[in-house]
Every structure is written in C-alpha cells, then in structure tokens.
C-alpha cells in the first residue's frame, strides 16, 4: 500500500477523560505504585492535594482512547495485527488528581518506511479543566513485515 503521508498533521477531536479515585488506585495497584499519595485520600489531602494523585504513567489511561482511535483510523490504514510499540516519551506538567477532567488531543506527526517497516508517530497533548498542561506524549509504533509497494 502507499503510505498515507498526506495524513501527517491530521488531528482528531479532543477526548475528555474524567479521572476517578478508584481508577487511580486500580492503576497504581497494577503497576506497583504503593505510595500513600496514590492510594490514600487522607494522606493526599494532608500533602495539599484535593484527592489521591495519579502516578505519572497514569497518562496512558487518559490518553488510551485517543491513541486507540488513531490506530484504528481507516485513513491511516495501520495493520493492527502486526503492530508493536516502538518507543514512547512523556513530559509531565501539572499533577493529575481524582476529580480532574483531562482533555487530550492527538496529532499524527510522522508516517515513514524504514528498513522495510512502517513507523508511525503520534503526539498527544493533555490539559486539565483549568487549561494547564498535564502531559505531552510522543507515541511511536512499528508495523512489522509490511513492505512498501
């Protein structure tokens, strides 16, 4: 297939994610974050936060819908059966706490063939309900075994 390089720069409608206390605790348990600020509302309040704090990598939870939406976009034509995650980068801003409403936008930043593999790169930008940046992400995926034709 021809690479849809004309879709570089494409953006998707913002996705809004309401952060729940139990979701933070569920995520923290799954990744082994046992710190009190991530799990105990009283400890979080004592430290000056309004509720439990999300571990930094919770960004994958509030960005998941945007990322999955782009991967499944027929205009990009990504072969999901051969998709692997190649690289990932996050830069964090304001901490996220339970009750926050995070709005994420996603842009396709690159589509290229390298050594016979297709590489796609996406950038997410996430803001809280006050318009403060919580995280930017650069998501790189590789489609294995797909030759350019």
């Amino acid at each position: 297939m021809t690479l849809p390089t004309d879709k570089i720069g494409k953006t998707y409608p913002p996705h809004v994610y309401l952060v729940g206390r139990e979701k933070i605790r569920e995520y923290a348990a799954a990744v082994g974050e046992r710190g009190a600020l991530y799990n105990d509302p009283q400890a979080a309040r004592a430290a000056g936060y309004p509720d439990v704090v999300a571990p930094p990598m919770f960004v994958v939870v509030y960005c998941a819908a945007s990322f999955q939406h782009a991967l499944a976009d027929p205009e990009l034509g990504i072969d999901l059966a051969h998709l692997v995650h190649g690289a990932q980068r996050f830069v964090w801003g304001e901490p996220v706490v339970a009750g926050d409403e995070i709005t994420t936008t996603l842009e396709v930043t690159d589509i290229a063939m390298k050594a016979g593999f297709r590489f796609d790169t996406f950038r997410t930008t996430s803001l809280n309900q006050r318009g403060e940046l919580t995280c930017t992400g650069e998501w790189s995926t590789i489609v294995r075994g797909q030759e350019e034709r």
Partner: protein, 129 residues
C-alpha cells in the same frame, strides 16, 4: 533526596501470572497478545506477553523513587521497547545518574528479563532538591 552523577538505581519486580490481565483492565489495553495465551502463540509468541507500557511504568517508578517518590519528581521519561517480556519472571530495572544540573537529575535506564532487554535507551529527568 540528593542524587549525584554515578549513583545507581535498581528496581526488581516479578509480574505474577495474571498481572497482564489486571494491567489490561487498569490501562484499557486489551490487545489479546497480552491476555490470551492461545492467541499469543498463534501469532508466534511464546505466550501472553507483558505490556510495554507496564514495563515503562517500572522504569518511571525506578526513576521517581530515586528522587524520593514525590508525584511531581518525574519531569520526563522516554524508552525504546525491545524484547518481549513474560509474566512470572523477574524484571530488573537498573539505571545510573548521568548528570545533575539546576535541580534536575538525568538518568539512563534499562529493563532486563532473563538476559533479554525489554527496554533500552531509557532516559528520565527527575527534580531533586
């Protein structure tokens, strides 16, 4: 918490048999290669594999813990994913402080399981002091 160039950080964690199922639910990534052994084998994998972003979360945790574990400590983290990780085998994250400037420590990290590098080129910036 003070960090100096050359300081080493280590984190070991053994994902249990059903970790990938719990992480799928927690993260929303239900790709069957992570939760269905039969499917994973049908696409040439040895069995269901760890989520790369779970492994990255261990790298991020190792870096943030080195800075005292404050939720605001981690400024950035980047990784390249390599080998496939499996449940029920120890994952070792190790890293070294490369530099400390203006209250920001730069760490280089990797994650290894049974001699296979799951993450290479890990890089994190943490706020210190």
């Amino acid at each position: 918490m003070t960090l100096a160039p050359g300081d080493r950080v280590t984190l070991t964690v053994t994902p249990d048999r059903y970790l990938t199922v719990r992480y799928a639910g927690a993260s929303g990534d239900f790709n069957p290669i992570h939760i269905d052994d039969e499917f994973a084998r049908s696409v040439g994998l040895p069995g269901r594999i760890l989520h790369g972003l779970w492994t990255m979360a261990q790298v991020a945790r190792a870096a943030a813990d080195a800075a005292g574990g404050d939720p605001r400590a981690l400024r950035s983290c980047s990784v390249q994913f390599r080998g496939m990780g499996l449940p029920e085998r120890e994952v070792v994250v190790s890293g070294e402080v490369e530099a400390v400037t203006d209250g920001l420590a730069i760490l280089r990290l990797e994650a290894v399981q049974d001699g296979t590098r799951l993450v290479r080129g890990g890089h994190a910036e943490v706020r210190v002091g």
